[in-house]
Amino acid sequence: MNGKAFLALLARDAHVARRNLIPLLFQTFLQPLLFVFIFGRVMVGSGYLPATYKSLLLPGIMAISMVFTGIWAVAMPLIGEFQFTREIEDDYLRPLISLGSPWKKWSRD
């Protein structure tokens, strides 16, 4: 494991996140906010659900946000790297760590 290269990769991700801050915030917070609004406010307020439902809602929203944010943050860039930019080829050439060759299995293009 090469610490310097790893830190550089982190710095790159931080840099890109800062540049795309607003879309990133939307992507992360829009869904939980909408869920809270629909289930916590509209459904409970109009009497479809009991008021105690709000306390059940919190852990559910937290769990679903974590799962979806994780999937989006990992899968979306990976899809891009494999399909459009083909950047994975270059990622693999960074002197970071030898993983065996994931390339062999992945390379179906």
């Binding site: 090469n2 290269a5 790159r12 540049r19 459009f84 083909r86 960074r94």
Partner: protein
Amino acid sequence: MDSAIRTRDLRKVYNAQPPAAAGRSDSQDQSRRKKESKPQIIALDGIDLDVAPGQIFGLLGPNGAGKSTTVGILTTRVRPTSGTAWIGPHDVWRDQTAAKRLIGVVAQRPNLDFSLTAREILLFHGAYFGLNSQERSERAKVLLERFKLTDRADQLVRGFSGGMMQRVSLARAMMHDPQVLFLDEPGAGLDPQTRLLLWEIIRDYNQKGRTVLLTTHNMEEADALCQQLAIIDHGKIIAAGSPRELKASIPGGFLLRLRFAERPDSLIDGLGKLSGVTEVRPSGDTGVDVYAGRGGSLIPEVVNTAAGCGVELSDVHISEPSLENLFLHHTGRSLRE
């Protein structure tokens, strides 16, 4: 460290379709694939290469010859089925990280980080390879200048044209000053001007004592740029040497591709007896390839011979000594077929 790049009996068999970057889609390969019931494709069949440090080495071959697979193995991206490859003292499969530090790679198609600007791509690439920030910004500036990218250095590469992306890729590969630079078809898709700029940059880089390995199917490029060449077809090296040596090895030098209305045996005998002719080969249905020491001055005699046999000459093509003829001589097919 005797050689910069060395391979011994390198073989690669794909059990399924190889990556499209290897470009195996020509009709000949498809028909071959149909004949074998198993979908096994032999991409490399025992490649032995020795590239001395400080050389520009060219791998020349048609689509699907195994050029990209060779580069893939040498750059640790493809696992060889058998055989070994070394970059300097490092076995590229056993010692991947060390090998990766010594190489810079330009892939056939640009694979840039679309979230970054051209300058940032260079800066971060330098950082991955452990350059300090001062070195990074200096080198990035020099390279952007060199590749004529300065005016768009701070725009996202997403909007760049193909040629510009190719230039950024090359600049990125040179950023960490690798000992060995791999270029997979660097001239593809560039306009003539950019290609000349590219050649100049590659030569300059080579002047610093760095090794360059490039693949191409462009004869002109191979001839202009490479000090050593290996001609590769169907996963085998069929000829190797300097461009001059290779050209000298073509019998006769000139190649006359003739086509007749029909081709009796007496015609081939007759053509073989003409002075200056070194080799006569039938090609296609009614064609004849004549390798000879002279070109146009042979035509009247060819016409006379044909008339003597009672056949009419329908087409003539004379090519001067070139790598294209060499390829044709070794494989019996032209590069573009």
